[in-house]
Amino acid sequence: MSKPNKHKEPVAPQPESISRRVFTGLALGGVGICYAAAVGYPVYRYLMSPVEKAAEVAAVTEVVVKDAQKLPVGSGVMFKFGAEPCLLIRQAEDKWTAMSAKCTHLGCTVQHEPEQNRIVCACHGGVYDPETGGNISGPPPRPLSQLVVKEVTEEGVRVARN
């Protein structure tokens, strides 16, 4: 009577103990994930705080470039549109163009060279057209992104997002 039982006992609990082990593992893993999330979420938000602030500042649709109406024909000025450096060029007495100064290749800030009538990026030698922002030569894949010049007032030049 006792002999067959002794043989059975070690066999019978095995499938159950495996599933119990899997369950315990899953439960512990789940609790672990909860804890990681409870710690990770505040840390993530804490680290992102300045990014959120910068995004708020960057979310402008219009900027007035102060005193830009006094620019001589042919010259340009750098200004900040939100967080991005931009370039305002006076092409003729009543002709203005405004564009991003962030090179479309790897993000360096480009410079306007009025004597050569071009915009260049010193980092990798990209060249753009100062009137259209089109990429002429070098590595840049796209034209500089354009802004719209809305009006010229006593105060300055009003520039808006395209």
Partner: protein, 359 residues
Amino acid sequence: MKTFINSIYGWADARLGLEELSHFARKKTVPEHAHSFWYYWGGLSLFFFLVQAFTGILLLLYYRPGPEAFESVRQITYEMHFGWLIRSTHSWAANLMVFAVFVHMFSVFFMKAYRSPREFGWWSGLVLLMVVMVFGFSGYLLPMNELAYFATKVGLEIPASTPIIGPKIAELVRGGLEVNEVTVQRFFALHVVVLPAVFAVLLGFHLWLVQKHGNALPPSEEAKPAQERKTVPFFPNFLMKDLAVWLVALNILAVLAAVFPWELGQPADALKPAPQGIHPEWYFMSQFQVLKVLGDWMPGAVGEIAGILLFNVCLVLWFLVPLYDTSRESGRRARRVTWLGLVALIALIITTIWGYAVL
């Protein structure tokens, strides 16, 4: 796949000796007995230290020492998402760490775990405790609020009362004649560079000694014959229990930090009088109260000098205990040392409570 993993393991093992490590982990055991509870307090201290390192690095991202110190802590507390929680966790974990370290020290003392061959464990532990106290003192100033300002001012008056060299030491630490931005900058460098480096080395030494000698048995266990003593494997049994205790500690810490957020207070102002009932952190309260009482008995510098002498004599006695309590038998001397520890513990508790009672 399995053979691939095995071959990578074999490659790393041949170069790093992983097998020795896992053999050591498998072989390591921890004694189990009526006083096993106290074995967790060293690990708990370590846990709180890790929390401090983690939250400290996070605070470091936005904290600016110098004239902007208070403003930067205000921004952390009120403008950064969850900044208040991270700062509160850092402050609470600091206090809990000091508490855990004290419990750890007294448990080691009463289990007589400082006896041969563990003297260096005791000594490195005491130096670690002192580094922890300096951590607390230097970190307390960093927000540069009213309380921090006066606590540091008063704290530095104590070494300043040491004859001859005292005033120079205080000036050197302060970086001026009064606590100011330069002091904050110095304490900052101390708190985030010097102390962590010193602490890491000492902690490595301390933990290495624990591995080398294993957990000490209290005298009551040592008296039992070897076959009656019980042990549990370190891996995974004790480690799992240790982690469970850490999890409990994490929960307590989270509740304290979230429900009782650490206050920011008012910015330090050298022209404002000290606020009523100003007092140091609880782990300096005992010394604070003893100095106050001695100052009443012996007015002037005499009281402070007597206090400093008293602290130093106690500290030296405490430090040297492995050298005068050496015998393995619980003889008369061993019992006297236990009494000494009890007196020290009770004196600490009474003077601390007394300090709070007369605020």
